[in-house]
Structure formats: C-alpha cells, structure tokens
Amino acid sequence: MKIKLTMGGKLVLILSIVLLMLVSAGVIGKIAIDRVSESGREVLKESEEIEAIQKMGLVIQRLIMPPNDYLVHGRKREYGYFEGLLQKNKKHLAACKKRVSAPRETQLLHEVGGSLEEINKLALKIFSLEDPIGNEEGAKLMEDMDAIADMSISKIDDVLAEARKEKMEYVAESKKVEIKSERVILVVISVMLAGILTWGFSFVRSITRPVGELIALTEKVAEGDLTARMHDLSNDEIGTLARSFNRMARRLYETTVSIEDLKKEMAARKKAEIEAQEAVAIKTQFISMVSHELRTPLTAIKESINIVFEGVGSDSIEQSKNFLGIAKRSVDRLARLIDDVLNFHKLELGKVDFNIEENDINKAVREIKEMMQPVAIEKGLKFIIDLDENIPKIKFDKDKIIQVMSNLVNNSIKFTEDGSVTVTTAVEGDNTVRVSVKDTGCGISEENIPKLFQKFEQFGDGNGRKTGGTGLGLSISREIIMKHKGKIWAESTWGEGATFHFVLPIREKRG
C-alpha cells in the first residue's frame, strides 16, 4: 500500500527519522565509549597490581639489607631497620593481597608471605649472633636468606611477566574494542547519511518532478493548448496545486470555448445579415431591372400598336410598318427578358440538364458566324473568325456553348461603334481549348472588370449610349462554363475594346 503524505508530513517524517538516527548513533557511541573506558579501567587496575607486585620485589631486596649490614658492621640498630622494613613489607603484602584477584598471584603472594616469615626467622638468628663481623654461621644464614629472597624475587618476576603479558592482552583487546566501536559508529553514521541522502533526494524529487510537470503544462496552456491536464495527483501541497491548475485550465477552456462559440455565432449572424442585405439589394436590382425591361418594351408596343390601330398621322403603309417593327423588336425584347430570367434561375438552381458529348468547337464558331455576322454588318462592323484547325474534338453541350458565344458576340456588337469583332480558337496548355471574343469597342474600366460576371450588373458604354439588357448574359455564361469545369474571364482597357476568353478542358481530369 502506498501511504499518501502531505509535504509537511514528509518533512516531519524525515526530521523524526534523522532525529531517531542521531539518537541511536549517540546510544551506540555511548555504549562503545563505555566499553572502551571500562577496558581502560581494567588495564589501569592491572597496571596498579603490577606496580604493587614490583614494589614488593624491591621491598624484599631492601629487607635483606639490614641483616647483611649487621654482619658487616655489627651495628645493633640494624635490627631496628629490619623490623621497620619487615612491618612495611607485611603491610605492603596485605595491600597487594587486597588488589590481586588472579589465583596464581594470590598463591604467589601467599608464598611471598611464607618467605617473609622465613627471612624473619633467619634474620632473628643473625641478629642474635653476639659477634656478627666475619661470623661464619652468620654468613651461612645470610646465604640462605639471600636464596629465599632471590627465589621470591624470581617468582615475583615470573608473575610480573605474566601480568605484563595479560596487560598487553588487555591493551590489545581494548584497542580491538576501540576499533570495533569506531567501525560501528562509522557504519551507523554512513547508514544514517545514506538514508538521509536517499530520503532527501526522493523528497526533493517528489517536489521537483510534479513542479517540472506543472511548468511544462503551464507552458502548454500558455501556448494555447487548453486541454493540458496534470494526471499524477499526489495528496500533498503539490497535488493541491495541480488540482487548482487543472481547475484553472478547465475554466479557461470553458470560457475560451464559450467566447469562441460566441465569436462564431456573431460571425454567423453578421454573415447572415450581410447575406440578407445582399439578397435584398439583389432583389431590388432584379425588380428594378425587370420593371424597366418590362415597361420599356410594353410602352413601345402599346404606343406603336395604338398609332397603327388609330391610323394617326399620315396612316401610310410605311409608317405602319415602322411602328409594327418597333412593336416586334419590343416583343423580342420581352421574350429575351423572360428567357434570360428563367434561364438564369434554372441554372442557379442546377435544374438545367447538360447534354455534354463529343463536339467540334470550330463548327460551333462557324454557326455563330452565320447567326451574328448579319447583325454586325448591319451596324457597320466586321465579323472575323480565326480558327485553329488542329483542335481536337472535346466534350461540351453544343447549344449551351453557342449560347455563351452568342452572349459574348452580342455584347461586343452592342458595345462597339466601329471596327470589328473577332472570334478565335486555340489549344492552350496541354489540356484546354480556348475561345476568345475580341472587339474594338468602348472597353470596360478596371474597377468594373471584377463585377462583370455578377448578376444584374450593367455599366452601359459610358458614352451616353444605353443598351437594353438584363445584366444576366455574363452571369448565365459563367454558370454554363463552370458546369463544363472551364473558366471565363475578361481583359480590357477602358476605351480600347475588350476581350472575353473562356477555356474548356480537353479531357476530364481524373481524381
């Protein structure tokens, strides 16, 4: 089970662990030091023993000196010295006995006690000699006493050697203990250190890792990714921070989304509004155009028929013919209005069937020439065709393309006062056929060129010569060309004539 702790909790835990380690290190150190000092005390005790025993040897040596002196100098007071030394010896021995604990040493001291008694006896014998100087018996006694003293001293030396050896052992052992405790302390300290380091490291990591993640996420959010979230949520303060971060990011996302929605809605409304305004404008334009295109020919028809019918004026055949001619033209114009409007409406709704099949574009141009040349000649214009005879057969709706060409040629004748109208065909690029209608008329001003193909747009010739029309011819032409996956455009300089081009694809592009 993973225990979840707050950062404060972690800190407290770490501190208590460090404290625990310190306390245990202290305890271990104390025990070690105690042990060292204990062994030291033991060594000390040992060396006191040795000292006492050593002293014992010296005292014994001194003890035999007054009897010897008595034998040399014969002074009676030597006995007093001896007595004093003996007492000292006994006291010392008693003191030694108290100190010594080892059985062998006790035994030795016991033996030394015996020797002291023997030395005492021998000394008493010596001091009882009346004539000590050069006394043979005295010398013999002295020899015995010497031997006893020597024996005691050598015994003491033995014990001393042993004691020294023991002492050395003690020292070695205490040294060992010292080293051991040093090691223990060292190990404890390193374990402690390692523990603190690992804990500290993981603790620092446990803060820096989520903080690093948070920073990365904040950067993401700053860069606009409002879906960025912290996933690893701990129970500590960092976890709380991460949760607040997530909340903040979510709120930001929600508000941004709603603002975005709002913006979209506003844009949509604005667009709808503009579209509605455009629709109203187009409707007004349409009604105005239809009204004009209905009322003008109707006026002419009504009046000219009335004039003929009433027999006003000269009432000649000539006059009647003239006014009936006006009536006929006006009827044609009415018919064209109806044709254009219905045609365009159907095209816009996509309700016109196209009969696209393999056809000869040059043949279509020749048909146009037959139709339009008389109209051009009547206005005093030349009608020229310039055909590329190598054009391959392509697929198009012949009637519709003829309608486009007649619209273009009609416009050219309408807006040209003198000069010519030229229709050209050519292969353009590797996949299109181009048809161009060029005139030497008034041309179109630069600002009007982009508006040409919009419905109901009419600019007249700008020279005061107004022409009847619906403003739909070019819109219809454009719809037809688009249906063929072609393109239509105009080139013109104001006052220098205009050229209208359209291209049709030779093969339908795949894909």
Partner: protein, 124 residues
C-alpha cells in the same frame, strides 16, 4: 408659333413613339439619347418643356433635373420625368429634384398630352 419639347430617353423606340405623338399634337420636338446630349440641346434649342427619362446611362435623370432647376436660366422650363421603374428612385428624391410632374411607363398618350399641355399653358 408652336411650342418646342425636348425628349431625352436612351430607348430609341420610346423616343420614336413619344415624339410621333407630340408632333401629331402640334408640338415641335427635339430628341436626345443621352443626358449630355440633352443638356446640350437645352442650351441650343431652348425648349418650352422637357420630357426626361430617369434611367440614363451617363447622367441620371434626377441629376439633370436638379441641375436645370438650380440654374436661373432654365429654372422656368417645366420638366416631366419618365420612369420605367418606381423602385429605382424614391419618391423623396423625385420631389427634391424639383420636377414638375412624373409619368410611369407604360403611359396613355392622352394623359401625356394632357400633362404637357397644362404645364406649357402654366409656364406662359
């Protein structure tokens, strides 16, 4: 001496039928197919009345009318507007142009002659 009427309209057929009717009624008629030509004729012909189409390609009928009505020399010449679409000009614009009357196409020639006659008589 017969009165002179200027007919300004870009539709040749309309010009023809209107001027025929006016001539038949005893007026002198001069015609123009554009606004500019019309203004020229006002100066050179000094008509007694002007019939002016609203929808002209070069200068709008309103503007011609306004121009004339603001000119001391031509102010007194009555102007009758001809329009094929009442939508193409608001009533307000029509009033502010200072035109003396307005006729919607198609019109009855009796109405046209009546309006013309009245205005010419008034101008005398």
């Amino acid at each position: 001496m017969s009165k002179k009427i200027l007919v300004v309209d870009d539709e040749p057929d309309i010009v023809q039928v209107v001027s025929f009717r006016l001539r038949n009624a005893g007026y002198d008629v001069v015609t123009a197919l554009s606004g500019r030509k019309g203004l020229d004729l006002v100066e050179s012909e000094r008509p007694d009345l002007i019939l002016l189409d609203l929808r002209l390609p070069d200068i709008e009928g309103y503007d011609i009318c306004e121009k004339l009505k603001n000119d001391e020399k031509y102010k007194s010449i009555p102007v009758v507007l001809l329009t094929a679409s009442i939508i193409s000009g608001s009533v307000k614009k029509l009033e502010s142009s200072g035109a003396d009357d307005c006729i919607l196409k198609p019109f009855d020639y009796e109405d046209l002659l009546e309006i013309v006659g009245k205005l010419i008589k008034k101008a005398k």
